[in-house]
């Protein structure tokens, strides 16, 4: 992503500001609480299918958020983050089914392992930039994809099923029920979002943004840019892996398809639609993506065609995604 297209030099570079319009701080906080309340209360007035869609949106949103950390905030566009989505899912599948560990242990170990793998891969990939970075991340994810298809230990292209959901029996709840599962996903998504917000607004996050804007200047300021890039890559991978775990729990299975480059592409699209470098952008993008895909498939069989056209229009005309465009429009008003 070019610096110019993503950077709104006038307002953005002010961390910790809660609102673009300082006089309505309280109003914006109120709106936030209201939205949160609606989302929390969704199961009580929405049907089962709406909840299923909402779950899909949230899982996609977490995945896209991980990608956003890399694309939006660090300026590194990767077409390979799906490999971490897949690794997350396979991690708990292998941990719970093949190694017999409890879910929480498997999840924790999976995330640690993913962070390590990502750091290693990141060390290699971040030596390149731009298009080469794109292609090498793509190559890595295709490699994992190919390995997953061939590996008999994890059932090759058939994947593994029987992924467990969290055992909430002590609370008297079953995570198999749609409502309970919805709240579980909501909780994890909110935590992921919080984590991302903390990262972005920390000094570490500021350096990442600096790298996106002008890498050489950050280097000349004495920062070990390579380390920061690797760190961003690893963090992004962990968030994507969390999404992978949630996805595996949602469908009860995992297979190599979740590592394909089409999945990576869809994640990037969600970030672009919603607005890169905005915290909630990926979730908005995920919501639009999932809903549009559903709506299109209800209307027509040829959703590939309309989808491709939609993608192209968004990229060509909606600079900064939906949120970015809205911001520009509203900014023009006032």
């Amino acid at each position: 992503m070019s610096a110019e297209s993503l950077c709104r030099k006038d307002r953005e570079f002010q961390p910790l500001k809660l609102s673009t319009f300082p006089d309505s701080r309280r109003a914006s906080a109120a709106r936030f609480v209201l939205t949160g309340a609606v989302i929390c209360a969704l199961p009580s007035f929405a049907s089962g299918y709406a909840m299923t869609l909402a779950v899909e949106v949230m899982i996609a949103g977490v995945f896209a958020s991980g990608i956003n950390l890399l694309i939006g905030y660090t300026g590194l566009v990767s077409l390979g983050q799906a490999m971490f989505l897949g690794l997350g899912g396979y991690g708990i599948a292998v941990g719970t089914a093949l190694l017999g560990w409890p879910l929480w242990v498997s999840a924790a170990i999976t995330l640690v392992v993913v962070a390590m793998i990502a750091a290693a891969i990141g060390a290699i990939c971040t030596r390149t930039r731009g298009v080469e970075f794109l292609l090498i991340t793509l190559a890595f994810s295709q490699m994992f994809y190919g390995a997953a298809i061939k590996l008999r230990w994890t059932n090759g292209s058939d994947g593994m099923s029987g992924i467990p959901r969290p055992d909430l029996s002590q609370l008297g709840l079953s995570a198999h029920g749609p409502v309970v599962f919805y709240y579980y996903i909501l909780t994890v998504s909110a935590l992921a979002l919080l984590l991302l917000w903390r990262i972005v607004n920390s000094p570490f996050g500021s350096v990442l943004i600096g790298i996106r804007e002008n890498e050489r200047r950050v280097m000349s300021m004495g920062y070990a840019v390579a380390h920061y890039k690797i760190g961003a890559f690893a963090l992004s991978a962990v968030i994507c892996a969390v999404a992978g775990i949630l996805q595996a729990q949602y469908t009860y299975f995992v297979n190599p398809d979740s590592m394909s480059w089409q999945v990576s592409g869809e994640g990037v699209l969600m970030v672009i639609i919603g607005g890169a470098n905005v915290i909630l952008g990926p979730f908005v993008g995920a919501a639009v993506f999932v809903v549009v895909k559903q709506a299109l498939s209800l209307i027509t069989d040829e959703y590939n065609l309309f989808f491709g056209i939609f993608f192209m229009l968004v990229v060509a005309f909606f600079r900064g995604g939906i949120l970015g465009t809205l911001r520009t429009l509203i900014g023009k008003w006032r």
């Binding site: 929405a46 299918y49 058939d158 994947g159 099923s161 559903q294």
Partner: protein
């Protein structure tokens, strides 16, 4: 980085409201509305022609009952799983939660079936698989909510292996797509073949849906010194394998034997004369001499102006099993929908392929398997000719649950 609450808030609030409003409208429970059946097939992609045949066969079966059971109309809601498990899951959820179907049927690919089996079991939604031959589906992944109206890979291929061994074939090379159904089919053949005294000298597995060029694989097979290639491929993969097999001059040197999907009718236009002389096993062909088959073929010819392929026969069997079950239930969907499956399990009926009955794991069994040869008929068009028949085998064990 400014955290812009307003725009994001508004958008999310708006989206949530729209979502909830459009989808959350309560539907009033209707007493005697239509019986809704979700039909998931692969209408696009490698297995598209297979799906179309199945759909047609299903329509013939339902038409026998004039589209009604006990005064209730049968409504079929179709969905395309794109032969991809994650899409299959999405469509399943949509059918069950949005369209509120009473049960789901269809599903071609074993990969999608395996993904749905868990979901069906957890969600307590009955699924009747119309293809999905991998043994694990009614083995390891068995459930009181899953049935299969076709047959298992072992049931189809095990005795085929024994048959070929008994006909003087001592060495074979097996070739197939590297996924559950491929392994089930060819694994069963290998077991039967080797128990019959033959030897599989080489196994060639090609990446499922990803292989474009079979040159390398066929060259390896040609070099193996075996007497036949025994293969399982379907749809567009089958077309390419048969064509390239002939391209490499292997048609006479190393005959390509398989099941009816390797030589499916849908592929005949693309293959031309290559199919003449090919031998394969099948569960049904248009000239089969039994009452149920004659009736089915006649109805199919009237409606669609051509002969049914084996996929249509399987669709018909699936539809017949469903209609008979619904008839037995008096058109009432029971509270515990597992009863639909258990009722189906107790059926025995005459189908175009022979007698159909189910085993304890809700898997339909094959009475007979036929060997046919494709020859040119008087009009110069290819036709299947009966050569031999043998019994279908039982299923592999592997179901740990009891129901």
């Amino acid at each position: 980085m400014a955290f812009s609450f307003e725009k994001s808030t508004r958008t999310i609030l708006g989206a949530a409201a729209v979502l909830a409003a459009t989808v959350g409208i309560p539907s009033y429970a209707q007493d005697k509305g239509p019986i809704k059946i979700g039909l998931i097939l692969t209408y696009k992609g490698v297995y598209a022609p297979v799906s179309e045949g199945f759909d047609r066969g299903l329509q013939i079966a339902i038409a026998e009952y004039e589209g009604k059971i006990a005064g209730r109309a049968i409504e079929i809601i179709r969905a395309d799983d794109e032969l991809t498990p994650s899409v299959g899951v999405q469509k399943f959820n949509k059918l069950v939660q949005l369209d509120k179907v009473d049960f789901v049927t269809g599903i071609v690919g074993s990969n999608v079936a395996i993904a749905l089996s868990e979901l069906a079991d957890r969600g307590k939604v009955p699924v009747i698989f119309g293809f999905a031959f991998a043994d694990e589906i009614t083995g390891k992944f068995c459930s009181p909510y899953i049935a299969r109206s076709s047959f298992s890979a072992n049931g189809f291929q095990y005795n085929s292996g024994k048959y070929w061994a008994s006909k003087g074939i001592k060495t074979a090379v097996i070739m197939g797509p590297d996924y559950s159904a491929g392994h089930s089919f060819l694994g069963a053949f290998k077991r039967g073949f080797e128990e019959g005294g033959g030897k599989v000298v080489q196994e060639i597995w090609t990446p499922f849906q990803k292989t474009k060029d079979w040159g390398a694989a066929l060259t390896q097979a040609g070099n193996s010194g075996a007497q036949i290639i025994y293969a399982f491929y379907a749809g567009s993969e089958a077309v390419q394998v048969v064509k390239q097999h002939a391209d490499f001059g292997l048609k006479d040197k190393l005959p390509l034997i398989g099941d009816q999907w390797v030589y499916d009718e849908a592929l005949w236009p693309a293959l031309g004369d290559l199919v003449i002389g090919a031998k394969h096993i099948t569960v049904h062909f248009p000239d089969l001499e039994n009452e149920a088959s004659k009736k089915f073929v006649k109805a199919f010819r009237e409606k669609f102006k051509e002969d049914p392929d084996v996929n249509a026969a399987l669709g018909y069997d699936n539809g017949k099993a469903i209609m008979l079950t619904l008839e037995k239930l008096g058109g009432e969907i029971p509270e515990d929908r597992a009863k639909i499956i258990s009722t189906m399990r107790d059926l025995t009926f005459d189908a175009p392929r022979g007698k159909i009955r189910f085993n304890a794991q809700n898997s339909a069994l094959l009475e007979k398997v036929y060997l046919v040869e494709i020859v040119k008929d008087a009009d110069g068009k290819p036709r299947r000719k009966f050569v031999d028949e043998f019994a279908g085998a039982g299923d592999l064990s592997g179901c740990a649950k009891s129901f």
